[in-house]
């Protein structure tokens, strides 16, 4: 489904991604782990089309289409979804208004008819249950005055409504208490399907107790230093990121 080849990107003139290679197939859950500053969030933002990040080389294809050629909104309509590390507060626009506009933009993109208010409300009510989100929050301005946990749940809720084919979760677990973490992970697990791929970007192994990945990749200094199965996450937990960093430095020296 997703094919990333030798991806290079920089932000504010500084090179962050230095040649990422990654293949994600439909139905798989991949976890991207790594120390602070390794480029995890940059990768998530570049895949979603954030213009603040400049792609300087490489290719990204989704279902054979060149993703880098599309603006963020077109990627979204094609099925990419990014759950933000820091969801933005937007006073003056309610979540439900915004989400209806988003859902209809993507339906229009696919040549489907726009949803009316009744159909939309039905979907929203059903999906809000999935993440135990108080439906009344949806009539408030986007994320305004939401707690950290509410913001993250709102992200997963939006993901559930928009039903992406490629969902990227950017440190959705950071700062959550265990109850909120379970709710968020539960929401993600319910959305796992054979047609959908999920990339979970996280700093902490804890999340992977609840969202069990098929593959784990460790990002160090803008490159994937190590890939493996879910057991790699446990090994990291025991040995720390420095283990991979040293390991990859050794590999680089010996090569």
């Amino acid at each position: 489904m997703l094919e990333v080849r030798n991806l290079h990107a920089r932000v504010e003139g500084q090179e962050i991604l230095k040649g990422i290679n990654l293949t994600v197939n439909a139905g798989e859950v991949h976890s991207i782990m790594g120390p602070n500053g390794s480029g995890k969030s940059t990768l998530a933002n570049v895949l979603a089309g954030n213009e603040a990040y400049e792609v300087t080389g490489g290719e990204v294809c989704m279902d054979g289409k060149d993703l880098l050629d599309m603006s963020a909104d077109v990627r979204a309509c094609e099925g990419v979804f990014l759950a933000f590390q820091y969801p933005v507060e937007i006073p003056g626009v309610t979540t439900s208004y915004f989400l209806k506009a988003a859902l209809n933009a993507r339906r229009k993109h696919r040549g489907q008819e726009e949803l009316d208010a009744m159909d939309f409300l039905k979907i929203v009510k059903e999906k809000a249950k999935l993440v135990d989100l108080d439906a009344r929050l949806l009539n408030r301005a986007i994320n305004e005055g939401f707690s950290g946990g509410e913001k993250k749940r709102n992200e997963i809720f939006q993901m559930a409504v928009l039903e992406p084919t490629l969902a990227i979760l950017d440190e959705t677990d950071s700062g959550l208490d265990i109850d909120a973490l379970k709710i968020v992970a539960g929401g993600v697990n319910k959305l796992r399907s054979k047609d959908r791929a999920v990339i979970v970007v996280t700093h902490y192994q804890r999340l992977l107790d609840y969202i069990v990945p098929d593959f784990v990749h460790v990002l160090v200094d803008g490159r994937i230093a190590k890939s493996g199965g879910k057991e790699l996450a446990l090994e990291l937990e025991n040995k720390g990121y420095s283990w991979v960093a040293d390991h990859s430095a050794e590999t680089a020296t010996s090569a």
Partner: protein
């Protein structure tokens, strides 16, 4: 100040015609007001940018032209005017064409007892009218040349008087239309609104006119809110694209009165709104709510003066500007807290959203506090559409234009939501969205 005779010629002629012996509508009390105001205007002359109060706004285009009063162009059809009407059932709709009351366009439903709504010209010649006790008492012109000019030439406008304890729920709509003929035309409406003790009313003033030719509107409204009165005032500026509009709303409030004044500016090429109140009784409250959405080379200057003269009064000022192209928005918010005005609570906010690199905003708070137990805050921001918010919306599937429009709308939404007349609020929303879609640049749309 040098105001040459040539510059004031047209005004001179008109003033002399108004104040001549035996002229109808020129009672002695008014004649002396007109004469004193004209003398003051001639002393002051038009302000220049050397005046602190006019630092950011150059009125030379008004000062150098020979605007003429009473020049009429093509009278609009009812259809043309309907775009500017309120859908609501209004208690009264008065239409003024080039500053003069137009009976054929106006409609006054049966008003409850205690409510008078008529043209000022009529009120002036009506025996026993209370006009003389209120007119020109509060909109002082000692330092305000344009108010002096309006007073010197005052002739017509609206007179609204609501007696003690009377509640008028339906709004009164005043619509000022400038026909803007080929010649440079000026109109100088003068309005007087008096809300007596414990009365309640809503007044909407809409200023509009033809596009394409230059005209000058110089309007003054005096609003007197007596003890415990509640008044909502709206001024919607939808003037023609070459109009120059100088307006002054002067409020006077006594004990426990509550006044909310909205200034929504969309039209005109050069606009100045002077909005002031004197909180002259304990427990008074005023809210000034403003929105300006500008494009092209529009210049709009909102100049607020809240005078806290008595203790325990609250004032709120929230003005927001959305500036596109090479437009310029100016906000000056002066708050004076007099020595006796303890427990004053004043809050002022001005926020500007720049949609273009060439747009410019100036924001100037001026707090003059002479009491020691007061709470006064002010804040100003000037910024662009937030790129994080843009990406957030786009990452959900909204195209760039839709995302930007939503954010601009969101920026204005609190000012718009304070409009309590449903059809007026949707009219303003439509104006906002139309302006946003106009501003859509080719290539940006997806």
């Amino acid at each position: 100040m040098l105001a040459t005779t040539q510059e004031t010629n047209a005004y001179d002629t008109h003033h002399n015609a108004l104040t001549g012996d035996g002229v109808r509508g020129n009672p002695d009390w008014l004649c002396s007001i007109r004469k004193a105001a004209f003398a003051r205007f001639n002393e002051l002359g038009f302000p220049t940018t050397r005046h602190e109060e006019w630092q950011y706004t150059n009125v030379a285009p008004i000062a150098r032209e020979q605007f003429r009063i009473g020049v009429a162009g093509i009278v609009p059809t009812a259809d043309e005017l309907s775009t500017f009407s309120l859908e609501e059932d209004c208690a009264a709709r008065l239409v003024f064409i080039d500053g003069r009351f137009s009976t054929v366009h106006s409609a006054v439903a049966s008003l409850p007892d205690g409510v008078t709504v008529c043209s000022l010209a009529e009120a002036i010649v009506t025996d026993g009218s209370p006009v003389a006790s209120f007119l020109a008492k509060h909109a002082t012109y000692e330092d305000q040349a344009f108010t002096a000019l309006n007073t010197a030439l005052l002739e017509d406008g609206a007179f609204v008087h609501v007696r003690k304890g009377t509640v008028l729920e339906r709004p009164i709509h005043l619509l000022y239309w400038s026909t803007a003929p080929e010649e440079l035309a000026a109109s100088l409406p003068r309005n007087l609104i008096v809300a007596e003790e414990s009365s309640q009313l809503t007044v909407v003033e809409t200023y509009a006119g033809a596009n394409g030719s230059s005209y000058f509107t110089n309007t003054v409204t005096e609003l007197i809110a007596q003890d415990n009165a509640v008044v909502d005032h709206y001024k919607i500026n939808r003037e023609g694209d070459r109009a120059q509009h100088i307006g002054h709303l002067q409020v006077h409030q006594t004990r426990d009165s509550n006044v909310t004044a909205h200034a929504m500016t969309f039209g005109g090429s050069l606009v100045r709104n002077d909005i002031g109140t004197v909180l002259d009784g304990e427990g008074g409250e005023c809210t000034f709510n403003g929105l300006y959405m500008l494009k092209g080379s529009q210049h709009v200057d909102n100049h607020l003066l809240v005078d806290h003269a008595k203790p325990r009064c609250d004032s709120r000022e929230i003005f927001k500007g959305i500036l596109d192209d090479s437009s310029r928005g100016v906000f000056t918010g002066r708050i004076i807290v007099r020595k006796d005005a303890q427990k004053t609570d004043g809050k002022q906010t001005n926020q500007n959203l720049l949609l273009s690199d060439d747009a410019k905003a100036d924001s100037k708070p001026q707090l003059e506090i002479f009491a020691d137990d007061v709470k006064c805050t002010h804040g100003a921001t000037i910024g662009q559409v937030d790129s994080d918010a843009m990406f957030y919306l786009q990452s959900r599937g909204l195209c760039k234009e839709a995302a930007r429009n939503l954010l601009v709308y969101a920026f204005a939404s609190d000012c718009v939501s304070r409009v309590r007349i449903d059809s007026l609020r949707s009219q303003i929303e439509t104006l906002l969205f139309d302006r946003l879609l106009e501003g859509q640049r080719p290539g940006e749309a997806t």
